[in-house]
């Protein structure tokens, strides 16, 4: 492990109150993100993978301060940004971070031209003159493959295809050259042939601009191609964390194993063996202090019902939160 750490998240939690009334305080909480720890180095991509409702999007939004965290600490470029009060700090933080959303049909304002959309971060940050902004917009549009850029500047989103819109959304996120970007399922709405184009484009840009990425996806195959490290989430908790190839080839947590075995393989001759797990995913409302996978786990033991497993390092930067594994990598009998 070397290199500058851009983002460090310690014990991050975000709870949502379940029912609010004017006169009573909330009694039940949805533990959307519970005690998350990870860090991202400069130029690296970490992928958060999990099923819908596991808290991956909430994690991304909490880090970017679109939600106020319930607990924990977020350090960005060595500065504590957990709670930002001063306008100046906020401005600094938001000029260095950006988000790319899932649906390019909803994330672009239909009443604005492409120029206005891409230049908006610069307007908010009061950056440069109009001439300079125009040059920068042209520059980034060309870079994301919208060419010729001057033909698109004054068009509206409805004149663009889905792939072009997502390119514009990427251009908007990258025009200020952020240090850190959260990408929330940026390719899941796109068609197969367009998806690969956009994935490749993002990988090139990450390398070229030496950015750090938090890449949120439900698709392990996409995560494998995009990310250096993959972290698997289940009901608000991180259950496994490893380098991408290590996680795909050597999954340890029973949930990760099930997830990997459930991914369809584009090869009709390959017969998958699926790991059977019981039931469906629930909601982490006031969860009991036990392993959250307990109800569905085929290997559930007595201890799993009594306390929550912590993430333990089993070597080679591979961490897993499961009582089946001990620190040295040996399986508990």
């Amino acid at each position: 492990m070397s290199g500058e750490i851009v983002l460090k998240v310690e014990n991050l939690s975000k709870f949502f109150p379940m029912k609010k009334s004017v006169f009573s305080r909330a009694k039940h909480f949805l533990h959307a993100v519970d005690n998350l720890n990870f860090q991202i180095e400069k130029g690296k991509v970490l992928s958060l993978v999990g099923e819908s409702g596991c808290g991956k999007t909430t994690t991304g939004k909490t880090i970017l301060k679109l939600y106020e965290p319930t607990g924990g600490k977020i350090t960005f470029l060595g500065k504590d940004v957990t709670h930002l009060h001063e306008a100046e700090d906020k401005r600094w933080f938001h000029s260095k971070t950006q988000m790319i959303f899932q649906d390019p049909f909803e994330s672009l304002n239909p009443r604005k031209t492409i120029f206005d959309i891409v230049a908006e971060p610069m307007n908010i940050q009061n950056f440069g003159t109009l001439k300079k902004r125009e040059l920068m917009v042209m520059d980034i549009l060309k870079r994301v493959g919208i060419s010729p850029p001057d033909a698109f500047l004054w068009r509206y989103p409805h004149e663009l295809s889905g792939g072009q819109r997502q390119r514009v959304a990427i251009a908007r996120a990258l025009v200020m050259k952020p240090e850190f970007v959260v990408a929330d399922e940026p390719t899941s709405m796109l068609d197969v042939s367009i998806r690969t184009q956009v994935m490749k484009l993002m990988m090139e840009l990450i390398k070229e601009m030496n950015m750090s990425f938090l890449y949120i996806t439900h698709d392990l195959a996409v995560a494998r191609y995009m990310a250096d490290e993959i972290s698997v989430m289940y009901l608000g908790r991180m259950v496994e964390y490893a380098d991408s190839e290590e996680l795909i080839n050597n999954p340890l947590h029973p949930y990760t194993k099930a997830l990997i075995s459930a991914v369809p393989v584009p090869d009709p001759e390959f017969k998958r063996k699926s790991v059977e797990i019981k039931g469906g995913i629930g909601k982490p409302i006031d969860p009991l202090p036990r392993c959250r996978f307990y109800d569905r786990c085929p290997f559930a033991m007595e201890i799993c019902n009594q306390k929550e497993p912590e993430l333990v390092d089993v070597g080679q930067n591979h961490k897993v939160a499961c009582f089946l594994y001990k620190k040295d990598g040996d399986t508990v009998a």
Partner: protein, 330 residues
Amino acid sequence: MKAVLEVKNLKMYYDTQAGQVKAADNISFSLYEGESMGLVGESGCGKTSVSMSIMRLLPENARIISGNIFFGGKDIVKISNEDMNKVRWAGISMIFQAAMNSLNPVYRVGDQIIEAITTHEPNVTFEEARQRVASLYKLVGLDPERMDNYPHEYSGGMKQRAVIAMSLACNPKLIIADEPTTALDVIVQDTILRELEKIQKKLNMSMIYISHDIAVIAEVASKIAIMYAGKIVEMSDSITIFKRPAHPYTVGLMSSFPSIRGPKKELVTIPGEPPNLLNAPDHCRFAPRCPFATDECWKKEPSYEEIENNHFVACFHPQNLKKQVRNNVG
């Protein structure tokens, strides 16, 4: 084997203010008893238009210009609406895209399936229908006691199972599943696909799976048709399609799909975007994106031909063929 469904030169166009959209152009395929076919393509390529033509559930501005659809020996393009109503559900049923939204939220799930049964089979009493629903629930892996629940009390996967149960309600010969698992998580998707495959084998039904996801199709279909811009560009059994794809679009599609098995391969991108089907060009529709395109491809449309046994391709420059076959063709 007997063909359950035979589609011949089907042309379905939409009339819009801007002009004619050739959503399905010269589609031909046949489907045998107990066979499952995958229809693969990107959005807007006409997959759903084909299935809606088969069900005759077309919007007002859509017209079947020419072609035949034979189901059980009858051409269902020509029959009256009343006769078509009898074919729907009892003969051909459908699992719709976003199935979770196709249940009515204010009726009990069981009652909605009973309604489907009693509409098509007026002789069946309510009690008999209820019993049939209970056995259908068991078949798709649902607890029959949940029949009297409302849709909002079901999870996404359970709704999907209920919709599958509904599609089976009148013992159809053919089920069209339009993106049956797209909105589901991988683990649920896996169980649903396995369930569907099991039921299909058990009841010896024919299935058409429609999907953009070639990995899903690889798992469930024995025969695959690849659609591009309103046309079937390639069709064969699934092993041939995956091992020796001939159309450059299929080749591109295969190598642009990330997989979690095997060594990490470099992904290949197909440049450009699918064409607008409004006033579609009369040359090969893939030519602008094709690495093998020659002058010929820009002059006329390639015909859809059998290049080897049971392997149909519409391309002037088919790839990956055995040598002798290539000599025969060119």
